[in-house]
């Protein structure tokens, strides 16, 4: 049962073949069994999940009309507030904090009767590409426990790959949904900026952060996408327009006549050979399915990473200023004779990890008087150029594609002392955030040289998220036909307890 897709589980629930309580319990058992090895979860809300499942079962028994995913369990990235449930964003500075309010995503999940199993591990404040920056220890990739599950949302992707949950919520600032999906052989979608409310999403970089669905196939992602997306007056940047019909797109998968633009700059040197092989194969399958493959160029993408590492740290230096020990979270150095200033200093020193401090310092510098124009100002100009690159390219194609990441999952510890090498992992995902458009990663197979999953990225214009689902569904179907079974069926069995 745990290896089924979310839509299969939903079908079984609707048919009365299983109750939500039973389904939830199976996943809780699985977590108990394998999570000591995987460490996908920071908190498992056993009681809350079972209570929510029982309530869904009661509604179903009473004959209420339920949403398509009602009763299906889900893993929530620990960056989302959930009322009375510990929420840390992977940081010591929030250890023990229980929010007094639900994020809009959680409100929407509850409205759809999706059962929240618990909170998943992440790089501290979503800063990282490996989940090694979590203050609570790394998450392990279920394909190979010595490897990273991607980041920042490694907990969510690992939970899917380890069959601990069929659905998960991620957030993506520079690739934190798509890169973990790529390295764990799962599906992850960063919708258009503003599609999913950020209210209750603990901010890393406000102008780049976007929550989205994580799942084991394209249709499941689409169902979850429709459940969490929509206008929210509490998020000024939220899109006030109908949610694109992504479920219909995922069910159709018809790409005949669509133009698929291969980004010249996101390929070639620096991309692992197995990544390139699987990417080319996928293009051939899409061509066979009736799409037209064209090449597009985005000359300013080469500046995306540099600009990102000015904008995101700048915003984070301000967003994270609120962690000052005054109202919630960790408080260090309090007591007789301590000043507010020294308590703030000591708390932030003890509460933030190295990468977070690095980015706060970078951002504070970039925003400083005399440096603003050269750093933050220039980065914003690059951002405009990247958006223009996308606009031009989308005149020639309906979606753009690239490998999601240059490599497959690396070893835990391999890059933790080399921030630049770590940052380069997001080179293909960052432009999407800079332009505020949509991006999806889905499995393209295993790299022949290491047997690890490779991700295929699809990028669609803003507010045309359905196009990613059309192409994703077409590719997924073609690959499934080729493989005969989903990629995750090849994942090594976790020994468990």
């Amino acid at each position: 049962m745990i290896r089924d897709s979310a839509s299969q589980m939903a079908k079984a629930l609707a048919a009365g073949d299983i109750t939500s309580v039973a389904l939830t319990q199976v996943h809780l058992d699985r977590i108990t069994s394998v999570d000591t090895d995987v460490h996908a979860f920071l908190f498992v809300d056993t009681q809350g999940a079972l209570a929510q499942a029982a309530a869904v079962d009661a509604k179903r028994a009473a004959g209420e009309k339920l949403s398509p995913l009602a009763g299906v369990p889900l893993a929530l990235k620990d960056v989302m507030t959930q009322k009375n449930v510990p929420t840390t964003a992977g940081s010591k500075i929030l250890e023990g904090w229980r929010p007094p309010y639900d994020s809009t995503v959680v409100t929407n999940l509850r409205a759809n009767d999706i059962v929240i199993l618990g909170k998943t591990n992440m790089d501290e404040f979503a800063m990282g590409s490996s989940t090694e920056n979590s203050a609570y220890g790394p998450t392990h990739n279920p394909w190979d426990l010595t490897r990273i599950p991607g980041g920042s949302g490694g907990g969510s992707s690992a939970a899917l790959a380890a069959f601990e949950a069929p659905l998960a919520i991620g957030t993506d600032t520079g690739g934190s949904i798509r890169q973990p999906a790529a390295v764990t052989g799962t599906v992850g979608v960063k919708p258009t900026y503003g599609a999913v409310s950020r209210f209750g999403l603990i901010a890393f970089s406000s102008s780049l952060d976007q929550a989205g669905p994580c799942a084991r196939n394209v249709l499941d992602a689409a169902l979850l996408h429709e459940a969490i997306a929509g206008y929210d007056a509490r998020d000024s940047t939220s899109i006030n327009a109908p949610v694109p019909q992504v479920v219909n797109a995922a069910k159709s998968g018809d790409v005949k006549g669509m133009k698929i633009g291969v980004v010249k700059e996101l390929n070639g040197d620096g991309y692992q050979s197995g990544v390139r092989i699987r990417f080319e194969e996928s293009l051939e399958l899409l061509a066979k399915a009736g799409a037209e493959i064209v090449e597009v160029s985005a000359p300013n993408f080469e500046y995306a990473l540099a600009a990102y590492y000015l904008i995101a740290p700048s915003e984070c230096s301000s967003n994270l200023a609120r962690f000052d020990a005054m109202r919630y979270g960790l408080r260090v150095g309090d007591g007789e004779g301590a000043s507010a200033e020294s308590v703030m200093n000591l708390t932030r020193k003890a509460g933030f990890g190295r990468e977070v401090k690095r980015r706060i310092i970078l951002g504070t510098y970039a925003l400083s008087s005399g440096y603003y124009d050269a750093y933050y100002g220039s980065a914003q100009k690059v951002r405009t150029l990247i958006t223009q690159d996308f606009d031009k390219a989308f005149q020639k194609c309906d979606v753009m594609v690239s490998p999601t990441c240059p490599t497959t999952a690396f070893k835990i510890g391999e890059k933790s002392n080399d921030p630049i090498a770590m940052y380069l992992n997001d080179i293909a995902t960052i432009p999407v955030n800079m332009a505020g458009i949509g991006g999806m990663s889905l499995p393209a197979g295993l790299a022949p040289e290491d047997g690890l999953p490779v991700g295929f990225q699809i990028m669609a214009p803003a507010m045309a998220d359905q196009r990613m689902y059309l192409v994703g569904a077409a590719l997924e179907e073609a690959l499934l036909t080729k493989w005969g079974a989903p990629l995750l069926s090849k994942i090594p069995e976790l020994r468990g307890k």
């Binding site: 989302m80 507030t81 929420t87 964003a89 929030l94 904090w97 929010p99 007094p100 309010y101 994020s103 950020r198 209210f199 209750g200 999403l201 603990i202 901010a203 970089s205 406000s206 102008s207 007056a233 509490r234 998020d235 000024s236 940047t237 700048s314 915003e315 230096s317 301000s318 200023a321 609120r322 962690f323 000052d324 005054m326 109202r327 919630y328 000043s339 507010a340 200033e341 703030m344 504070t364 925003l367 400083s368 008087s369 603003y372 933050y376």
Partner: protein
Amino acid sequence: MALTYDEVVAKYEPVLGLEVHVELNTESKMFCPCSTIFGAEPNTQTCPVCLALPGALPSVNEKAIESTIKIGLALNCSIAPFSRFARKNYFYPDMPKNFQISQYDEPICINGYVDVEIDTDEGPKVFRIEIERVHMEEDTGKSLHVGGATGRIHGAEYSLLDYNRAGIPLVEIVTKIVPGTGKYAPQVAKAYVGELRDILRSLDVSDVKMEQGSLRCDANVSLRLIGSQVLGTRSETKNVNSLRSVERAIRGEMIRHAELLNKGERVVQETRHFQEESGLTRSGRSKEAAEDYRYFPEPDLVPVAPDAAWIQTLRDGLPERASIHRKRLQEAWAVPDKEMAAMINADVLNLVEASVDLGADPTKARGWWLGEISRIANDKDLAISDLSITPSDVAQIVAFVNSGELTDKLARQVIEGVIAGEGTPAAVIAHRGIKVVNDDGALMAAIEKVCAEQPETAHKIRNGHLPAAGALIGAVMKETKGQADAARVRKLLLAHLGQAE
């Protein structure tokens, strides 16, 4: 050596710059739905947004934008078709996010002016104060630093924080530099703040209570030698909380600067705090090393882009300009300039106007507000607006006097009762058993008694010396415990003694 003000302005020209912060009277805060009511229990008017809980996001109060645009229009500003919020970053415990959402290089209103008229040696003169910008921001919470000598955070034993005020909408109105006011600088500044207050009141966008802090003025002052084009170093006197203090603070700073400059010392660029008792300022925070607020556009809020039709609707709905409104009232009421000025100075013009709107005679309403009620406010050391007497009460009292149910003297007792919280004028009259003695029989008895007691005075009157009547009328009023109508007493007394007016 202490300088006189005249010596200062004979040598130096003051240059002003005024920043006025106005708390808007919106029902909810700038970026969240929390209530803005003043005086609630600490930290009861808070939510995840104004407490800056992780994950919370601001959303703009549209009413606050509307109010700000109205202010901009009333101050003759252009309204930016596109303006942005910005983050002003600095750490302070009463600022929950450790940044303030404000506006920086893209404010909503720019380039306006206000004309103020003051009395000069050459008669009334109009000074134009140019407005640089009007922008929106949020207020901070309030800190109470307990223990320690200064009441400031340094040296305090502990601090209490109340976030009820955090996120209250503020509008900041910033003038361009104001040169050319010479010795009238303090008066011009006072008149400007007074004019702003009247404009804001007429727009109904703020309570404009300086003593409660809903209108706060920071006064920048610098001096330069007369004829010089170079600006001197300025000081910024913070939170001057009455019109009178604006005048005193600027005057005091001009003298202080001049004394330093005369001694060859330099003025330190710093904030200063006005001391109400002494009329002097004390040194605050140095601004010589400019703080770096690391402003950048607020990414959580979309830009403000009010459409032209909306702006036009707001422009069409603007009330009469305060100065024109005052002129119109003065004509309608036929009030001499001096009396008009007295009402403005005493801050009772709007109260008189409201009383008149409720049917009171303008002269009588003015008399009560400027006279008895002002006197009681002075005695109690309160602002008139803080007394619990309303224009409606005054209108009723005037009506009672007109109908003969109260005499002026009795009316004073009623006013005192209303202010003491005894209820409406009618309630005070009933409760205190106040009534005019209308019984001519009782009055005649008193008159006869008084004439018998003071035969010489009565004799003078009988011989046509009418000014002597006052003493006897007074004695009759005393006899009747003030409950008689003095006019009636006079009439009866004169008739009794064979005289007529």
